[in-house]
């Protein structure tokens, strides 16, 4: 069975190669080829899953050694795979959601002339992501890590003719590089500390290593996770990444790639368990991001950016849970899977809305769409109920557990984390209700011509319409798009309950991540009650603000916080002032230093050599007889020296 593991990665890789090298003759069938290879990978995944279930919990991990990649002396890098319960969970999520989004893209990208290329990139992404979660050592994981970064770059900038998309792609790539640097340093540290970077030996020998080293490795891994998972302080790229086609936002920037950081931390659990300081940093990052993303999500009028803020916030929950140690790992992954379902569903819903609204993304130009796109409304609505944690749906089970685990951290820290998680739940309910109300309820704001404003150049009448505003004709998307949404909505509703049944998910992951029951100072029932109360509080406030009152079609100026949140809480301004300007000053200083110090030293040497040779040159008078004297003198010195040496 273990020989099948490589097939998981190989299928989409072959698909990508075919589609990207196949040329125009595949233009008409390319999307089917891409979908077929993604589905093949999913089928293999399901077969392996069935096989894994047939074995006892301790014998479930499979290994496949493909070949030695770099065998140099004591340095061994292998291309080898490890399929355990954690990887299996990811494989099913990636190939499952991935296949659904391939199907959806067939409809969504129907009118794009570069559709074949799009499917090639999607397949490339699947292959890289599978490599990331299947690798049995950190170096191969790094290959997958960089691969998904590349795919993400290519797909964000897929509409490269738009300058905003090209810039967003570059921004995502560059910010990710900062995190990647962390991962490469962590891998180097592992090699110097443990002499290897295979998961087995590294994670088994953490007990015999000093805490300082483990903390350093842990912090570097956290930096990597921050970059890939858009956590504070490397979060700024995710909002702009929404420039990519919506299926990409759903697959890469919501369901799978951005959760790679959570995978990394969970996989390296043994390192973090032995380095409490690194764990504290992880929970701090998670708690800050979950509030940060939620606040940003409240202010955005762009439906995709609001969802991006929400993604950030939800991954904050996962990181927070992963930082809690064995009491949280399983819940982090559980929330990751349920989030994969409902967030992908929400993004596909958003894409479906945009599809019917001439690619309008401003929610202030939506309204009352539930009549026109009933299937989108219902699936989006179920995803919405799942994400806010409505009792009985997926998000309720997974988020509730995380909040409970946060309280169980104990001490003041536990209260702060638990409080932050609860507050985050309230804000989540608020902004998701806002999205829901602005999109599907209220008056039909799209019927009126947009009010031109300096912020919205797109509000100017399009050329060719003679200045007349023609309202869009909202319509339900084709079946090929609604079907994946329905499947994901079903997952959003039932996954959480299924996982929590008899603690099935925790027991499934326990052999890999270990599990400890947290001892919460507040009872589970109290937490659940509190979560439900804040949930209804958030929904209620949102209804008061956006449901009862009509939504202005032009954004009001808003409070200071709102304006800051619209600008992503000034993260770009911060980066600009600190890193861009700071970097500019640094390079100016360095250039000056180079001119004065380095060039000075080099030029000084040259000048002194010139002066010296000017002096020496005067020996060369051109008079034969003076040369003769010099030769005679030299000969005399040689003879004298020889005699002297003999005497000694």
């Amino acid at each position: 069975m273990e020989n099948l593991i490589a097939l998981l990665v190989a299928a989409p890789l072959v698909g990508a190669a075919l589609l990207l090298c196949g040329g125009k003759r595949l233009d008409r069938t390319g999307h089917w080829i891409g979908t077929l290879f993604a589905a093949a990978s999913f089928a293999v995944g399901v077969a392996l899953f069935a096989d894994m279930l047939g074995r006892s919990a301790d014998h479930r991990a499979l290994h496949q050694h493909l070949f030695s990649w770099i065998p140099v002396g004591g340095f061994r890098a292998d291309v080898a795979f490890q399929l355990d319960q954690l990887s299996m969970t990811f494989v099913l999520l990636i190939t499952g959601v991935g296949s659904l989004i391939h199907v959806y893209s067939i409809g969504y990208m129907e009118h794009d002339e570069r559709r074949r290329r799009f499917f090639g990139y999607l397949n490339l992404f699947l292959a890289a992501m599978l490599l990331l979660v299947l690798a049995d050592n950190y170096l191969l994981l790094y290959v997958g890590w960089e691969g998904v970064g590349l795919a993400s770059y290519l797909l964000i900038g897929f509409w490269q003719h738009k300058p905003s998309a090209a810039t967003a792609a570059k921004k995502a790539f560059l910010v990710n590089r900062v995190g990647d640097m962390g991962l490469s340093i962590a891998i180097m540290l592992m090699f110097t500390t443990f002499g290897t970077f295979a998961f087995g030996p590294v994670l088994a020998s953490t007990g015999a290593t000093s805490e300082g080293k483990l903390t350093a490795i842990g912090l570097m891994l956290l930096l990597a996770a921050c970059g890939k998972s858009a956590q504070v302080p490397l979060q700024s790229w995710l909002g702009d990444a929404m420039e990519g086609p919506t299926p990409v936002s759903a697959l890469i920037h919501a369901a799978t790639m951005v959760t790679a950081g959570v995978y990394l931390i969970t996989r390296s659990g043994a390192i973090f368990n032995a380095a409490p300081d690194a764990q504290t940093a992880v929970v701090a990052v998670g708690a800050v991001t979950l509030l940060f993303g939620a606040i940003v999500g409240c202010a955005k009028d762009d439906i995709k950016k609001a969802l991006a803020g929400s993604t950030m916030s939800q991954i904050g929950y996962m990181i927070l849970a992963a930082g809690l140690g064995p009491i949280g790992y399983a819940f982090a992954i559980m929330h990751l899977v349920t989030h994969g379902f409902f967030k992908a569903g929400l993004f596909l819903g958003a894409g479906s809305v945009m599809h019917g609204m001439n690619d309008e993304v401003d929610m202030r130009r939506y309204g009352g769409l539930r009549k026109y796109m009933p299937i989108t409304f219902i699936t989006f609505g179920l995803g919405y109920l799942a994400i806010i944690g409505f009792p009985g749906l997926s998000g309720f089970f997974s988020k509730d557990k995380i909040i409970e685990a946060a309280f169980a951290k104990g001490g003041t820290e536990g209260w702060i984390l638990g409080g932050a998680a609860l507050l985050g739940a309230a804000i989540t309910a608020f902004y998701m209700t806002r999205v829901m109300l602005m999109t599907f309820f209220g008056e039909e704001r799209w019927r009126n011509a947009p009010t031109p404003s300096p912020d919205r150049p797109s509000a100017e009448p399009a050329a060719g319409t003679g200045g007349e505003y023609t309202p869009p004709h909202p319509h339900e998307s084709p079946k090929v798009m609604t079907l994946p949404m329905v499947v994901l909505a079903i997952g959003s509703v039932f996954a959480g309950g299924l996982f929590s049944l008899n603690e099935a998910f925790v027991k499934w992951l326990e052999p890999v991540t270990s599990f400890a029951h947290g001892h919460s100072p507040v009872s589970a029932t109290t937490v659940t009650a509190a979560t439900t109360v804040v949930l209804f509080l958030g929904v209620g406030v949102a209804w008061l603000m956006y449901g009862r009152r009509p939504v202005p079609s032009l954004a009001p100026r808003g409070s200071l916080l709102t304006r800051a949140a619209r600008r992503d809480l000034l993260q770009d301004d911060f980066n600009h002032i600190v890193f861009v300007r700071g970097g500019g000053h640094l390079t100016t200083t360095l250039v000056q230093l180079d001119h004065t110090l380095v060039d000075g030293a080099v030029n000084g040497t040259a000048a002194s050599m010139g002066g010296l040779s000017g002096l020496l040159r005067q020996l060369q008078s051109g008079f034969v007889r003076s040369y003769a004297v010099q030769m005679l003198g030299g000969a005399a010195v040689l003879v004298a020296a020889t005699l002297l040496m003999r005497g000694v």
């Binding site: 040159r617 060369q620 008078s621 051109g622 008079f623 034969v624 007889r625 003769a628 004297v629 005679l632």
Partner: protein
């Protein structure tokens, strides 16, 4: 007769030659003084050959003579050319190579 006296003679000849090279300006005379120095060396070589009772010194003397002959050919040709172009054979006048 003690062969050492020949060494004294060789040293004397070498000194005269060296002094001539350094003091005189006429290229022909400088040239002759160089020959004198070479021959002083030859004398020393032959004397040492005699002193040590082997033929090494005499062989080297032959080599020196061959080199000296070749040098005379080239040297005289150069001196004649210089004299033709500059109408003087003073070595101090031919100082074009200085910077």
């Amino acid at each position: 007769m003690n062969p050492v006296y020949y060494l004294y003679l060789a040293a004397l000849l070498f000194t005269i030659g060296a002094a001539g090279v350094l003091i005189r300006r006429n290229a022909i005379v400088v040239f002759m003084c160089i020959e004198l120095m070479l021959n002083a060396c030859n004398l020393a070589f032959v004397t040492f050959s005699r002193l040590h009772g082997n033929l090494d010194g005499q062989i080297i003397a032959f080599f020196t003579m061959v080199v000296a002959a070749a040098e005379v050919v080239v040297g005289l040709a150069i001196i004649v050319t210089i004299f033709r172009t500059r109408h003087t054979a003073s070595v101090d006048d031919a100082s074009l190579m200085k910077l």
